[in-house]
């Protein structure tokens, strides 16, 4: 597991250095993901250990959002004022974004 973890951290580190060094608009971890993807293609797949570690980590992805979500505590007064309209705006615009994306991909694939 330690090798897999080291590998993932190294790719994140390289991604972070590239992203900041070259002033890329793409965040470091995403650069790391794309680099790792390129390496996987080149070598024809992940080692079993890396695959297991990655899937294990992704199985608990929602947990990783809890600390930032608890940050709501800082904005309770603002949310008491604007919470309801804000929620409406989030729900409506998220639905529109989902449909715009999904339908664009879907229609373009059907045209072929």
């Amino acid at each position: 597991m330690i090798d897999a973890l080291l590998g993932i951290l190294l790719f994140q580190l390289i991604g972070e250095v590239l992203s900041r060094g070259l002033n890329l608009p793409v965040p470091g971890p995403v650069v790391g993901m794309l680099l790792l993807f390129a390496i996987l293609r080149w070598r024809g797949g992940p080692p079993a250990q890396l695959s297991a570690t990655a899937h294990g980590m992704l199985a608990h992805l929602p947990l990783l959002f809890v600390p930032a979500g608890v940050g709501v505590i800082v904005h309770l007064p603002l949310l008491a004022r604007e919470g309801a309209p804000l929620l409406v705006a989030i729900v409506v615009s998220t639905a529109i974004t989902l449909l715009a994306t999904g339908l664009t991909v879907h229609w373009l694939r059907q045209r072929k």
């Binding site: 790719f11 990655a54 199985a59 959002f65 809890v66 989902l98």
Partner: protein
């Protein structure tokens, strides 16, 4: 005895150990409760855990900064988890190749729609300028969204909360909404869910299939990049 308990509390309240353990333990308990209730999307473990932790912090008068000292170790893992998405992405390469060009178009449309729809809907319901600026990057993953909000003059910490609510909203009804409008391919639905609802949309897609999850992860990453490019331009155009 009281004195002793108090001194233990004082010690624990200052180490990262307490809130790190609490975050994971409470999330774990909430996954069990949610599963016992039949995994209703509205009562998802993330929402339940956030409500529980916020209540505890309020009751114990603990500042968020103290909490985050411990919880940051969990928060940090968002980066490695993003890198780890390369593995399901590799495993879904055939799907990726199948929808590459349509997905690229979907990315541009989705990113522009995401920012514009948020700002226009927010304006329609009468949100303040600062909240609008915090809302604009809502569809993308937390760290990038916070950076963009800061650039636009919003409140990054408010953006973090908005981003998570967006993720939960997409996870709540996104998959079904897309099906209802005739988008039934796993890859297509995953892509839309990851684009509009970042990591929580990706987590939801992973529940349906590894292919949906992989494309969601890809869409999340690409939209993070595209939105950071488009947001400053669109913000000017939308009058932010």
């Amino acid at each position: 005895m009281d004195e002793r308990i108090f001194s233990i509390w004082v010690y624990l309240a200052q180490t990262p150990l307490l809130w790190l353990t609490a975050t994971i333990a409470i999330y774990r308990v909430m996954t069990l409760i949610s599963r016992r209730l039949g995994s209703p999307p509205l009562l998802n473990p993330v929402l339940l855990a956030i409500i529980a932790i916020v209540s505890i912090l309020l009751l114990t008068n603990t500042p968020y900064a103290t909490y985050f000292d411990g919880a940051q170790f969990v928060h940090f893992l968002l980066g490695p988890a993003t890198v780890a998405l390369a593995i399901p992405l590799y495993e879904s390469e055939r799907t990726l190749r199948r929808i590459f060009w349509p997905a690229l178009a979907g990315l541009l449309v989705g990113s522009a729609t995401g920012i514009s729809a948020a700002v226009l809907a927010g304006r329609l319901v009468g949100l303040s300028e600062q909240t609008l600026r915090s809302l604009a990057p809502k569809s993308i993953t937390t760290p990038i969204a916070m950076g963009i909000a800061e650039q636009l003059g919003g409140l990054p910490s408010l953006t973090a909360v908005i981003v998570i609510v967006t993720g939960m909203v997409g996870a709540l009804f996104g998959w079904e909404l897309l099906s209802f409008f005739g988008v039934r391919d796993d890859g297509e639905r995953g892509f839309a869910l990851g684009l509009a609802s970042h990591g929580l949309g990706t987590a939801r897609s992973l529940q349906f299939s590894s292919e949906a999850g992989a494309l969601a992860g890809l869409a999340m990453g690409l939209n993070g990049a595209t939105t950071s490019l488009l947001a400053p331009l669109l913000a000017r155009w939308l009058g932010l």
